[in-house]
């Protein structure tokens, strides 16, 4: 059922509800501020970033971060300004959820600006990783070359892992030789993401590389991961069959059967 938004706005205006909650936001009581922010967030259409910015510098981190995330959603002039500053000194995964949700709404109105600009500005590793993840989610393919450049720089391994993941999502196959070349110089966290990325990017080079590392891998979890990704990109099934015929351990046989069962739906489509 579609809401009658006109009447809704009229009632809000007649009862001066936005003004009331704006007043509540300016009080010094944390509880009242929190309720006021939620109310203003609910009213949304009738409020501006200026009203919310009252609380974006407040001492209480929960109120401050919540206000910043609402600001990102409602402001029409400089909505992304807190992305320039690592969002907040207390940035955490709940903020990721709030920002992600706000970005999704913004993206529905009009395509987001390239998030790479804020990746370059970000100081905090966690915030950088989050933005790189969002680049993949919003399919900002234009950011891919810069991400690959960043991958080649001496950055934290968690950032490298996220770049590999994102470039896989972006289907940026130029990254395949870079990933293959750097594979052995990375820790397991990055290797796992590269394996998954190669499974998305596909191609002869990726397939042959995955096959070669399969025979060198002792970690059982990684073995399953490699097998799964080979299965996903080995369209004629030749490499997968070759491995299937060569395995000797019960574990590998069970793993192959498990992956076949789990991927059968994908291949049937």
């Amino acid at each position: 059922m579609k809401l009658n938004t006109h009447n809704y706005k009229e009632i809000l205006s007649a009862l001066s509800l936005p003004e009331f909650w704006e007043d509540q936001l300016s009080t010094n009581d944390i509880n009242t501020n929190s309720i006021a922010l939620r109310m203003l967030h609910g009213i949304k259409d009738n409020i501006t970033g200026g009203v919310i910015s009252l609380r974006t510098q407040t001492e209480n981190k929960d109120i401050r971060k919540f206000a910043k995330s609402i600001y990102l959603e409602v402001d029409s002039t400089d909505a992304f300004k807190y992305l320039e500053d690592d969002f907040d000194r207390d940035f955490n995964a709940l903020d990721e959820l709030r920002i992600h949700s706000a970005l999704k709404k913004k993206n529905q109105e009009k395509p987001l600006p390239p998030l790479m600009q804020w990746v370059n500005m970000a100081q905090k590793i966690e915030f950088k990783i989050f933005l790189i993840k969002e680049i993949g989610f919003f399919q900002q393919i234009d950011c891919a070359p810069q991400l690959l450049d960043l991958y080649l720089q001496n950055v934290d391994y968690s950032i490298k892992a996220q770049i590999a993941d994102t470039l896989g999502l972006l289907d940026y196959d130029i990254a395949v030789p870079v990933f293959i070349e750097s594979f052995n110089y990375n820790p397991q966290e990055v290797k796992d993401k590269i394996i998954d990325a190669l499974g998305k990017l596909g191609g002869e080079q990726a397939l042959s590389f995955l096959e070669s590392i399969y025979y060198q891998t002792y970690n059982k979890e990684t073995l399953i991961k490699i097998l799964l990704n080979i299965r996903l990109i080995d369209h004629d099934g030749s490499v997968y069959s070759k491995i299937e015929n060569s395995v000797s351990t019960d574990f590998e046989k069970i793993a192959i059967s498990y992956i076949e069962k789990n991927t059968s739906e994908i291949f049937e489509l």
């Binding site: 939620r38 995964a93 989610f137 059982k220």
Partner: protein, 484 residues
């Protein structure tokens, strides 16, 4: 003897005063925690999680089952109906000798699958892994293993199958609230320091009506022991644990319900099948592992009632439960004695473990000897009755006040029961607790200590299930034999 009498009376006086002070402090801290939680987390945050499945962390719900044919179907239905985008339900059938597995196979149309089982944690061998043919049960995994004799062993097998970064440790007799997973994961997300475990409030399911795994009515238990235990649970969760949580001092995330970070549990070696209190043992080993490797961590308690468990319906089962808890507590202090007054383990070593030693482990001993001492003083006419009654009333009222505070906290978090009469019922029973319930707990705890000292062997505590569904087990199932 005169000196002993003199000093013992002072010892008891200071002991009672100190425990009252500690409880008042915990009650204040608990209140702060509830207030903060109400400001920070609302349905808006929960909705954001549900509406953004691509960013919601995955959670494995692991519930071991041993001879649970009466309740297994209701429970699994309840777990499958949880309102969260990314989760799986793993039921570990720990070599049940009744129809638990047969019921599961028939009701959820299970088929055996080839599963690449990796033994990251030690457990008795896994025989088979099942998944459902039906898409609506795609989140369900059944692990059938050789009986290991303990919940810990079954949990380890479940964790070897779990695929997500966080898991819920629960019992198959527990019914979880539908919004459990969104509520329990929020404090994990809302922290810069890794949260390795989260606990929530547990209550008694005995008075509730459950229909196909969901509550149709929530009321307090109507039988005596679960009703006493309801207030006892609320006091433990809403005052003690919420209080400790503020200063990151929770020593035990309940075995009945808790969220854990999978990698931390695996690094700490998983659940110990030899432990009589595998939940506290696991929590302490996680703390030790994090501390010894100089990693920061947080263990959080949230005020919401998320889990309903079946309380002991009669004295026999209550005795069995409390003796096991008694054995477990004593074993904890033997196994984890390194924590006590050890600076290396921070507040756990300096505050909470000494507290648990003095006010939990020693409490039944002090209370019992105190009672014997009182009898001696009465027989030798050494009791000043005007002071005695005054002191007794004072201590009694302190206890009742803490229970009243607990019930008011519970109401402030959420009005779980429909009628205020239900809350009055709770208040009435909490006022009788010290007279009729607590002495039994002291006796059973002491028996547990003695059993531990005499090294008897113990396995899964057998709980006679009453079930909470109006549908009987025979009505739920087909009658075909178990077949993979």
């Amino acid at each position: 003897m005169e000196y002993i009498t003199y000093y013992y009376q002072y010892l008891i006086y200071f002991y009672a005063t100190l425990i009252s002070v500690v409880y008042v402090i915990l009650a204040i801290l608990g209140y702060i925690n509830i207030s903060r939680s109400k400001i920070k987390y609302t349905t808006r945050e929960e909705d954001k999680l549900k509406n953004n499945p691509e960013i919601a962390p995955g959670i494995s719900v692991v519930a071991p089952a041993f001879n649970e044919e009466v309740i297994i179907i209701d429970n699994v239905n309840s777990l499958l109906s949880l309102d969260y985008p990314n989760f799986e339900v793993i039921i570990v059938n720990d070599g049940s000798t009744d129809r638990t597995l047969e019921l599961l196979i028939n009701n959820f149309q299970l088929r055996e699958i080839q599963f690449p089982y990796i033994e990251k944690l030690r457990s008795k061998p896994v025989r088979r892994v099942f998944k459902s043919n039906l898409n609506k049960y795609k989140r369900l995994i059944i692990v059938d293993k050789v009986n290991g004799g303990t919940k810990a062993d079954a949990m380890n097998a479940g964790l070897n199958v779990a695929k997500y970064d966080y898991f819920i440790n629960t019992d198959v007799d527990c019914i979880l609230a539908r919004d459990t997973l969104t509520k329990i994961i929020l404090p994990v997300l809302d922290s810069k320091i890794p949260v390795i475990a989260v606990g929530a409030t547990m209550r008694m399911v005995n008075g509730c009506e459950v229909n196909e795994g969901e509550f149709s009515s929530v009321t307090p238990p109507r039988s005596y022991f679960p009703l006493f235990q309801e207030t006892e649970y609320l006091r433990s969760y809403l005052v003690a644990k919420l209080g400790w949580s503020i200063i990151n001092c929770i020593p035990n995330v309940s075995g009945g319900f808790g969220l854990f970070r999978t990698s931390t549990v695996i690094k700490a070696g998983g659940f110990d099948p030899q432990s009589h209190a595998e939940d506290m043992d696991m929590t302490l080993r996680m703390i030790a592992n994090e501390r010894e490797n100089e990693r920061k961590y947080r263990i959080v308690q949230i005020p919401d009632s998320l889990c309903w468990t079946e309380g002991p319906p009669n004295l026999k089962i209550l005795a069995r439960q409390r003796k096991r808890w008694g054995r477990g507590l004593l074993q904890i202090f033997v196994v984890h004695r390194k924590f006590l007054f050890n600076l290396k383990y921070g507040r756990t070593g300096w505050i909470v473990m000494p507290y648990a030693l003095i006010f939990e482990l020693l409490a039944p001993i002090i209370e019992f000897t105190g009672f014997l001492f009182l009898v001696y003083l009465m027989l030798t006419n050494q009791v000043n009755f005007s002071t005695f009654w005054l002191m007794l009333l004072f201590v009694y009222l302190i206890g009742v006040t803490i229970s009243l505070i607990t019930i008011s906290y519970d109401l402030s978090v959420k009005k779980v029961y429909r009628s205020y009469t239900d809350y009055l019922w709770l208040i009435l029973f909490s006022s009788l607790e010290a007279l009729f319930y607590h002495p039994l707990i002291v006796v059973f705890s002491l028996k547990g200590y003695l059993e531990f000292l005499f090294l008897k062997e113990f396995t899964w505590g057998k709980m006679t299930r009453q079930g909470y569904s109006k549908t009987s087990a025979n009505e739920i199932i087909g009658t075909t034999s178990p077949k993979a």
